[in-house]
């Protein structure tokens, strides 16, 4: 019990520290452990219903790699390390301690006497099984690629697990353990070599998180109740039971939360919905920092003056990117199109992450506002023919329906002073993904992080041979990216991350536009929502009560 209490106090302390809780809930402002929103004994709370338009691909951590599935896993599976509400930093969940015991060895000690909801023992065998299984199944839809740095896993005794890593001192590794590859599964229920069906997981009661699933109707309705066997960092849930209702259409979600049929609407309401719900006196719109990043990718080969075009010229090509960066009015896009559900992004690492700075604000435009004169000068100095014709692609069905409005506005901003002639096109998602690498000189993409570390916004984008495949190659950037991952000194690493952002901002491999805010709309009787809208981007039903 002491352990449990300790966790709770930590949770409350974290709340006090968190400057990110936008809307205050009076009871949670107190630092007293018992008065915090997570009561220990009196979990009398009425059932909480959450509505979402996300979807579950699979409850099996080996079989899915998406927000919708991960959100449910966060409620029902334990992690070695998990972040407490209010903080993105990993802290011990199943682990009693977790640290580098040598350069390439990360050792986790488990708490003793852990149990699964079905009564099975939860020990190091389960942990080893979990990660071995991820690597063995390597499902096409799964997250096993996040374990790229793991060489092998051993379990010397029942409470010890040792991860042997390929790259020394990987500072992102604790974060990886909180990521979609991190949920621990029961080795007595899950098969070692294939993804398990959701119904079988539910039937086997293979739960070890805050909740157990009582009734499971895939992508329609999940009903859960508190798991007494859970002894991790999140503590006992503030409500006795919770349900998740799935919607296909955000406006049905909006109407249901407005009419009180559900308590909380989370992901994804349209900007118009959020604005309208904000006017409803029975509801509260909660906003927290978001990890989602929206940006334009430039293909260094095929963009105007790109390396593989007839009039290839690296300097001119850079001028074109810089001119575009000077002309974009992020403020206008955020307020007009997204009505504040997104905020301007002047960097590659979203605000709220350790090491995030805003280099694009200083380098381009004037005080974050567009500057046509600057753009014109850049183009003229480089000898670029004005107007520049720029083919620009966006996708209308993957990054929300407002993409059309967003890119219509981008086109308008670029063309406003006659410096660009934008040929705007949209393409359906699957074709888009096939064509973007080869065919699109400039195009829209979005990013949602795997875990809450700045590196997750740098390595995948700017290291050599990254997933963008936009032919950006800056050896200095590449070198620093791989170096910072192994920097054990936090200050040194932060400095490196800051430098990286400035370096990339000068090259403009991509042009960040917006950073997403996490938005949850809840009835005004629902408490605790703001606690979970933190930079870990994990929505925890356990903090809600009413």
């Amino acid at each position: 019990m002491t352990r449990k209490k300790n966790g709770l106090r930590l949770a409350a302390a974290a709340l006090g520290i968190s400057a990110l809780a936008l809307t205050g809930c009076t009871s949670s402002a107190s630092n007293d452990g018992d008065a915090s929103g997570a009561p220990s004994g009196d979990a009398s709370g009425a059932p909480i219903t959450l509505g979402t338009t996300d979807k579950v691909t699979s409850l099996d951590p080996a079989g899915s790699y998406d927000n919708g599935s991960f959100m449910v896993m966060n409620q029902i599976f334990p992690f070695l390390l998990n972040s407490e509400p209010g903080s993105p930093e990993p802290s011990n969940d199943l682990a009693e301690s977790a640290e580098f015991t040598s350069d390439k060895e990360f050792t986790v000690k488990l708490k003793p006497g852990l149990k699964w909801a079905n009564g099975n023992d939860l020990d190091s065998k389960d942990v080893k099984f979990t990660f071995d299984r991820q690597l063995k199944i390597a499902d096409p839809n799964g997250p096993s690629s996040l374990l790229g740095n793991v060489e092998s896993i051993t379990a010397p005794d029942a409470t010890t697990v040792v991860f042997k890593l390929k790259v020394a001192n990987d500072q992102t590794f604790p974060q990886v353990l909180t990521s979609p590859v991190g949920p621990i599964v029961d080795d007595e229920v899950f098969p070692a070599d294939k993804v398990m069906a959701d119904e079988e997981i539910v039937a086997g009661k293979a739960f070890g998180g805050q909740y157990v699933i009582d009734s499971y109707n895939k992508n329609s309705l999940i009903s859960m109740s508190a798991n007494d066997a859970y002894a991790g960092v999140l503590g006992a849930p503030a409500n006795k039971s919770a349900a998740i209702k799935y919607y296909a259409d955000s406006n049905n979600l909006k109407l249901d939360v407005q009419q009180g049929n559900i308590d909380v609407a989370y992901r994804s309401l349209t900007p118009t919905d959020v604005e309208d719900l904000g006017k409803d006196s029975n509801l509260v719109v909660h906003k927290g920092p978001g990890g989602e990043l929206r940006y334009i990718v430039f293909n260094f080969d095929t963009m105007p003056y790109g390396a593989k075009t007839a009039d290839a010229d690296a300097a001119k090509s850079l001028a074109v990117r810089q001119a575009a960066a000077n002309l974009i009015d992020r403020e206008a896009i955020a307020s007009e199109v997204y009505k504040g559900t997104y905020t301007p992004a002047y960097s590659y690492v979203p605000q709220g992450f350790t090491g995030a700075i805003e280099p694009l604000k200083e380098l381009y435009g004037t005080d974050g506002k567009p500057d046509a004169a600057k753009a014109k000068k850049v183009l003229e100095d480089a000898g670029v023919d004005i107007p520049v014709s720029l083919p620009l692609q966006y996708n209308p069905d993957h990054y929300g329906p407002s993409s059309g409005d967003e890119y219509a506005l981008v086109k308008k901003q670029l063309e406003a002073d006659g410096l660009f002639k934008v040929d705007l096109k949209s393409t359906e998602w699957v074709t888009y993904q096939k064509q973007r690498v080869t065919d699109y000189p400039a195009y829209q993409l979005g990013w949602f992080p795997d875990y809450s570390d700045a590196d997750n916004y740098l390595s995948p984008f700017f290291a050599k041979d990254n997933f963008l495949s936009n032919n950006y190659d800056n050896p200095a950037v590449d070198k620093l990216i791989s170096e910072q991952r192994g920097m054990a000194d936090a200050a040194e690493r932060t400095k490196a991350i800051e430098d990286l952002q400035t370096m990339v901002a000068k090259d403009l491999s991509t042009l960040p536009l917006l950073q997403g805010a996490q938005v949850a709309v809840a009835g005004k009787d629902v408490q605790g929502v703001e606690k979970t809208l933190d930079p870990s981007f994990k929505f925890r039903l356990g903090v809600l009560s009413k």
Binding site: N251, T270, T272, D276, V337, P396, A408, K425
Partner: protein, 325 residues
Amino acid sequence: MGTATLPASNKSWVDKLPIISHLKMSSGLQRGMLISGLALTGLFLIAAIFAPLIAPFDFAQSGNANGDFPRQAAPGGDFIWGTTSGGYDVFSRTIFGAQTAIFVIIAAVVMSLFLGVLLGLVSGYLGGWFDRIAVMLSDAIYAFPSLLLAIVMSIVISQGQSKVFGGVMAAAISITVVFIPQYFRVVRAEVMRLKAEPFVESAQVIGASPWRVMFTHLLRNATRTLPLIFTLNATEALLTLAGLGFLGFGIEPTSASEWGYDLNRAMSDATSGIWWTGLFPGLAIVVTVLGMTLVGESMNDLNDPRLRRFSRKKAKRITEAGVGA
């Protein structure tokens, strides 16, 4: 009569034109329905042809010399039907939407009428293995929900891209593929029935070639339902285009204006009480389909002796004029 504006000298052949002859033989409410249908369809055609003249703004215009247009502004002032979440003028987009619609309708109708009628005729008359395969194919395609087939076809044809021509042709071809089986079935059934009629048998006995029998005797009779098919196909093309647009497989908003896409975007406005972004494009669809269906139904009634209302005096003229349809 209703066509008083026509010069008298032209009367002989003008009177035989489908719509005009129908107008002349109609009376009472039937005429009322036909005329109101023609009026609504006329409205649609005028909007489509003169869109650039009627619409105050371009369909993808979200600002002018005076600055940006307001977003989601209520009807009134410069924007008689309000503006959308993208800052476009609803009235202008609705008018320009007629243009997109008519391109798709023409392309789809021409293609599916031609292919569907031809296949139905040949298949129904010749029978045998060709008929069986054609029936099987059409049954199979028919069994697939039409809108989903249209979605798949539009992905295959346009590769999901949003170009205007590509989008229009993708919609048109998808619609064609979906409707060929339907018209094939109808024409084939009619041909099968007519095949047993005495006039076909007598033609066969005289020694007319199969092609001659098909294209002179059968085509003429089997396609009496043509005006109905025509309007049904046109309305269905429009509804499918709108359905594609609604489900997000339509045309990019800055490339062309399309009612279904606008309705899709308007859904989230509607739940916030913003009614004008969805109401007008939706009404445009309803009015256009209503107009064309009224014309088609009236013509069908007038072609069908059991449903036709006419005075005895008119009877003779009608039988002559009606066949031309």
